[in-house]
Amino acid sequence: MGMRVTTCITAVVCTLLLTACGSFPRNPPLARYDPSAGYRFDQLEQGSNSDELFVILVFSGGGTRAAALSYGVLEALRDTRIQWKNQTISLLDEVDVISSISGGSFPAAYYALYGSRIFDEFPNRFLYRPVQTDLLKLALTPAGLLKLAGPSFGRSDLAAEFYDREVFGAGTYADVIAHRRRPFVILNATDMTIGAQFPFIQDQFDLLCSDLSGVSLGRAAAASSAFPGALTPLTFQNYAGTCGYRQPEWVDLAVKDHKSRVNVGRTARAERRLSYTDTEQAPRNYIHLTDGGVADNIGLREPLTAIASVNNSWSVLRLINLKKVNKLVVIVVNAATEPATNRDKTPDVPGLVDTVTAAATVPLDNYSFDTLEMLRKTVNEFNEEMRLISGCKALALGKGTQCALDIPAPHQIEFFPVEVAFEYIGPARERRWFKNLPTSFELPRETVDKLRTIARQVLSEDREFTRLMKALHGCLAVDGQRC
């Protein structure tokens, strides 16, 4: 009898313990695919934000360092006055899209949820907070340890709960959709299996037949910043095949080009989309997302696709062809560092940690370099068109007015690629100091404030930003000076 009671109690305790173990919160299924609903660029109301001046912000990864630098740029844009359509307005009011990675996703998500309240609340809610220590303490509590014992619940799930509770006030994409206003904020994570960017927008969640409106911003930010090793990937359920989803027309067309390789990038994008909706050959029941920086630590690849392709859910190229955009501004906030090392001061063979760290970070840094080069090439491509047409006209006209040519040109835009990075800090000593800041989710208050200040400084000194200010009769006050 006693033995039986003990067994029963043990069974009950085990059951209770098992149920206490965490399991990832399910992303909700989508009842029915509806391209006119959900978090999509074309579903947001423009209000007074015009397409003619199209502004894209890109926030890189880099922990609190990146969050503070991006936040500093938001503050500077708020304070930038421009003359637009016979009115003096803030440049921040003209921002159309924000694409963010990892640390940069925190100010991006907060701005998506709370708009200008970010300037009163975000520093204390996130930037000045010892987030890393708070997360560690949370993981070491009995409740935290018990939750982490579950096989489908990791440290990033715990972090997501913390961000929901302490940073984003449990806000979900339903709250963001309810505002129906620009900017369209895209938090990016990385799909571990296909190594590609996974943006938190309904167009991506359609592939999973999942409803993004039921996903919290804390969870999206946690996925975007799930730094490999320190934080675990996050799991999302794939309900593909249950909502009547149809791929956009270009996907089949791009797949047709697989053999001819006429545009391998476009074909690869199409095939990646199909990997989510394949329910027969190689179904992917669960999608595991890690830090957005693994696929692109700048956050610029998705905007570059939108600028150079008509096959994108928020294609800027389509808007340009429709003559809606006249000025295109891309402001890249890049918090990349270049930590000093003593490696080359000694003949000693570099240690394992040093070697593995270099192997992990060097390809990422090189990829980021190439991503920024792609932006410059894209700008050149647009500028080259006009140079070519003008050159031909001038050559023909040189033969006499009877030879004047009327060459039809595509709609011309002015392109302003702006870059805010430590690399462009003038004084070498100051530049070195910023380039040696650690990647962490907590920084001293003074460091955060210095990052906010330097963001404004570098932005105001950027050559392209200066050109933009001239074009818009605008001004950004720095060092307490007035415009």
Binding site: D257, V262, V310, L317, R318, I407, P410
Partner: protein, 72 residues
């Protein structure tokens, strides 16, 4: 970047791969590859659609894609 010029006797919208992407008789930018060109729901034009591989164009020599009035 590739360039196309979709021609039609009047000015109307051009749909590339099902999305409104510009107007007829103007040079449009498009990414390389196979695309479907149409002129929208008012089907008073022919052919009804054209599937074309766009590649090797320049801004000076866009690919010409011609539509005509139906029965015209």
């Amino acid at each position: 970047m590739e360039y196309v010029k979709v021609t039609y006797p009047t000015n109307r919208f051009v749909y590339i791969d099902g999305e409104k992407s510009g107007s007829t008789n103007e040079v449009l930018r498009v990414d390389a590859g196979t695309h479907v060109f149409e002129l929208g729901k008012r089907a008073n034009y022919e052919p009804a659609s054209q599937e074309v591989i766009v590649e090797g164009t320049t801004v000076l020599f866009p690919m010409a894609i011609a539509f005509v009035r139906k029965g015209g």
